[in-house]
């Protein structure tokens, strides 16, 4: 059964800020909520469902998580969902909001993401993670110095060994993102880069260079998802969820294979529900924490065969107007924005812009009526949640 037509993405907003020294975390949540409500043509009083992840009030901050933020915004709700799935949470929230609306639990759902890691001086990428110290697996991992970069690097290293993937091919993913980011005035990195630039950037964790890594930014974004009855009262293009899938992957009791992600399960479910194939997709928002994340995800979703990702992404095949599969036309996490180290929100927002025809004219995909969004939350070689959406403009 498809949820197509059961709910519509009526409002999206990406905060233009990239460093939020002068703003509080709750303030950022409220600002993005206001932006998305204005985009939809609704007000706070219309919101009766709220969706957020576990970091909503900040990992270190005082307060009671979602309730602190709901209190700040003065929301009066009849539905609340606080699903945590790290960077893919906001992709999952679209699924959950649509399902809640279809079940009659709410009619105007607000999803928010906000964070200020730069303002807090976070050294996110290269420091060893200290979250989850009491988790069962922590004692078997943290002594070895895993961080987000060297973990993903082990996926890249193995993929290269197993399939002959090269650093040049990975670099093409960053090159494509930079071609798109040059047109985004809010992008953190707007300079077009070459394969040679990526390879000449400092090695962080073999084989990932600095330019294989996403940016760290403050800010956030918000979505408004509404019932068909509400959508009919708004003057917005009708963007609906046609199919979705969600699957976690973990260390499988030590039966570890770091060359694939949970997208091998979430993708087929989404395509089956939507009744379409990868060849039908006009635009793809692919979570791009690192270049390798994109390459493995594209294989797992079936845009090319396993092991063929390197050949698929090279020579500009992901550049809008040039290649077969335009991706991350806002510049993605690699160049534009990765607010609070969680990129799922901006992936949904750019897909909606494309489906509305509201992307920058230089990167707008012609007749873009079917788009895919994929989020990867967590660490690819250990534990992560994979979420796939197929969105359609009716």
């Amino acid at each position: 059964m498809s949820v197509k037509g059961k709910a519509y993405l009526a409002g999206v907003y990406e905060h233009p800020i990239r460093k939020a020294d002068g703003k509080s975390l709750a303030q950022l949540h409220a600002e993005v909520a206001l932006g998305a409500l204005r985009d939809a043509g609704l007000t706070k009083d219309d919101v009766d469902g709220y969706f957020c992840a576990g970091d909503v009030s900040g990992w270190e901050g005082p307060g009671t998580g979602p309730f602190s933020i709901i209190d700040y915004m003065g929301l009066r709700l009849r539905y609340l969902d606080t699903t945590e799935s790290w960077g893919s949470a906001y992709v999952v929230h679209v699924m959950h909001a649509v399902e809640a609306i279809a079940a009659g639990k709410c009619s105007v759902a607000l999803v928010t993401l906000a964070g200020r890691p730069r303002a807090m001086g976070a050294n996110t990428g290269t420091s060893v993670t200290q979250k989850g110290l009491d988790a069962s697996e922590a004692q078997f991992e943290l002594p070895y110095g895993p961080n987000v970069i060297n973990l993903y690097a082990m996926s890249a290293m193995r993929h290269m060994h197993q399939y002959g993937t090269t650093s040049e091919q990975l670099a093409w993913i960053k090159v494509a993102a930079s071609h798109h980011a040059q047109h985004n005035p809010h992008a953190l990195l707007r300079d077009v880069v070459t394969v040679e630039d990526v390879l000449a950037s400092p090695m962080i964790a073999d084989p990932l260079h600095r330019l294989d890594c996403c940016v760290i930014t403050d800010g956030g974004g918000a979505l408004i998802i509404v019932s068909p009855e509400v959508a009919r009262t708004l003057n917005k293009p009708l963007v609906t969820l046609r199919g979705s899938g969600y699957a976690p992957k973990h260390t499988m009791g030590g039966d570890i294979d770091v060359t694939y992600s949970g997208a091998v399960w979430s993708g087929p479910r989404a395509f089956e529900e939507a009744g379409v194939t990868p060849a039908d997709i006009k635009y793809a928002s692919i979570y791009d924490s690192f270049t390798i994340t994109v390459l493995i995800t594209l294989e797992d979703l079936g845009f090319c065969a396993k092991g063929e990702g390197g050949r698929f992404v090279q020579d500009g095949n992901l550049i809008s107007g040039v290649g077969r599969l335009p991706f991350n036309t806002d510049g993605g996490g690699l160049c534009n924005n990765h607010p609070s180290n969680r990129g799922g929100m901006t992936k949904v927002i750019e897909a909606v812009r494309q489906l509305r025809g509201e992307a920058h004219p230089a990167v707008q995909v012609k007749n873009c009526d079917l788009a895919l969004v994929h989020g990867t939350g967590g660490a690819l070689p250990t534990r992560h949640g994979s979420a796939t959406l197929i969105l359609e403009r009716e």
């Binding site: 290269t126 060893v128 110290l133 009491d134 069962s136 697996e137 922590a138 004692q139 078997f140 991992e141 943290l142 002594p143 070895y144 110095g145 895993p146 961080n147 970069i149 060297n150 973990l151 690097a153 082990m154 996926s155 890249a156 290293m157 193995r158 060994h161 400092p202 090695m203 962080i204 964790a205 073999d206 084989p207 990932l208 260390t251 499988m252 009791g253 030590g254 039966d255 570890i256 770091v258 070689p381 250990t382």
Partner: protein, 130 residues
């Protein structure tokens, strides 16, 4: 190479894993095996993650393995090699490769367990090329 030494955050054993860390301090690598399905898993659990049998037990591993993947953290001082090593007994575990030329590491390389002191007093299993 540099003279800097990487501070190693030590494990915090729990009742389920105390025997593993006590053995490591005695220079032995333990793995957890299941009498229900016959498979060995990692990290060790009381209940088998494959068949959910409660009939699991400790076995001493041979200490031999193969590098499945690795990455040298170049931005650290000193650089260090994070790795996944596939044990002769089957499961693949996260670890470090130590006492080696970091530039000469390769996937498929044979390695043997050794033990490294941490800041909680426990020694943790790491590997070195044969």
């Amino acid at each position: 190479m540099t003279d800097a030494v990487r501070a190693i955050p030590g494990p915090k054993p729990d009742p389920e894993t105390q025997a593993y860390w006590d053995a490591a301090n005695a220079g032995r690598l333990l793995v957890r095996s299941c009498n229900g399905c016959g498979r060995t898993h990692h990290y060790p659990r009381s209940i088998c993650p494959f068949c959910f049998s409660e009939d699991t037990q400790w076995n001493e591993a041979s200490g031999e393995g193969t590098i499945y993947s690795f990455s040298v953290m170049r931005r650290a001082n000193p650089p260090y090699a994070l790795a996944f090593v596939t044990l002769a007994e089957g499961p693949t575990m996260m670890t470090n490769i130590v006492d080696c030329d970091l530039d000469a590491l390769r996937i498929g390389q044979k390695v043997r367990v050794t033990f490294q002191q941490t800041d909680t007093g426990y020694r943790t299993p790491v590997f070195t090329p044969l």
